[in-house]
Symmetry: D2
Amino acid sequence: MSASDVAKDQLLSIIERIERLEEEKKGISDDIKEVYAEAKGNGFDTKVLRKVISIRKQDAAEREEQDAILELYLSALGMPA
Amino acid sequence: MSASDVAKDQLLSIIERIERLEEEKKGISDDIKEVYAEAKGNGFDTKVLRKVISIRKQDAAEREEQDAILELYLSALGMPA
Amino acid sequence: MSASDVAKDQLLSIIERIERLEEEKKGISDDIKEVYAEAKGNGFDTKVLRKVISIRKQDAAEREEQDAILELYLSALGMPA
Amino acid sequence: MSASDVAKDQLLSIIERIERLEEEKKGISDDIKEVYAEAKGNGFDTKVLRKVISIRKQDAAEREEQDAILELYLSALGMPA
């Protein structure tokens, strides 16, 4: 096997590994969409579900602080908190 | 002027119009970043500013409804509202 | 005017400047879409137009080098260059 | 088990399924980054690798057609093809 053949094999192996991983990733993205669709079908609000998931990722203390600043700004602008 | 020259002129004109608009767009994006940077320098929380701007775009009634659903979900999950 | 009023004015001014800039940016994005739509109406391929604009941004020497590597990889994979 | 308990369980199950899928997706994205990093370490040009993968997804006939139009436009603009 020549040096050039090794590089060819290596190139093909890299490309195929990435393609396989991209496919798996696409499959999981589809699964996520399905769970949301199913949740919607069961009467859940998907926009709020996304919000809940984002909140669960946040640090609780930081979230509280951000909410307090938000209330301050909204009240300064005369908007309902 | 041949038909082909017309097409050349048309092509160049299209390309240049788009490039000029893209440049203008980039300039405005830079201006927006500057306003945020200036606001940060004056002690404002830019993450919350973005949130305020997004709230101002929302319909008030819809926002209230979404907040109510969010509280419901968070309470069901035993999380602070 | 109290310190708090100053902050209120400052906050409102920041918000309104950003909203105005966002609106301008949206206007330009719409203009760009229109130029592409018009170009399409005149028989130009918009996907290729985007490619041309991207190529014009690239450094010519760098582009040539990337194209040479691409040909190498495609030929190693037995794909047409 | 009350109707409300069922909804709570359902909500938590939805949230946890999405969170688990998001985590898997993140894991795969990290794997893809690693393959690219490894390829780079072995002397491959990752920008061109991405281009190769995108070309392999394209229909060959369509790609040829797009390339022909691109050459036409570049030549009309006096740019090297």
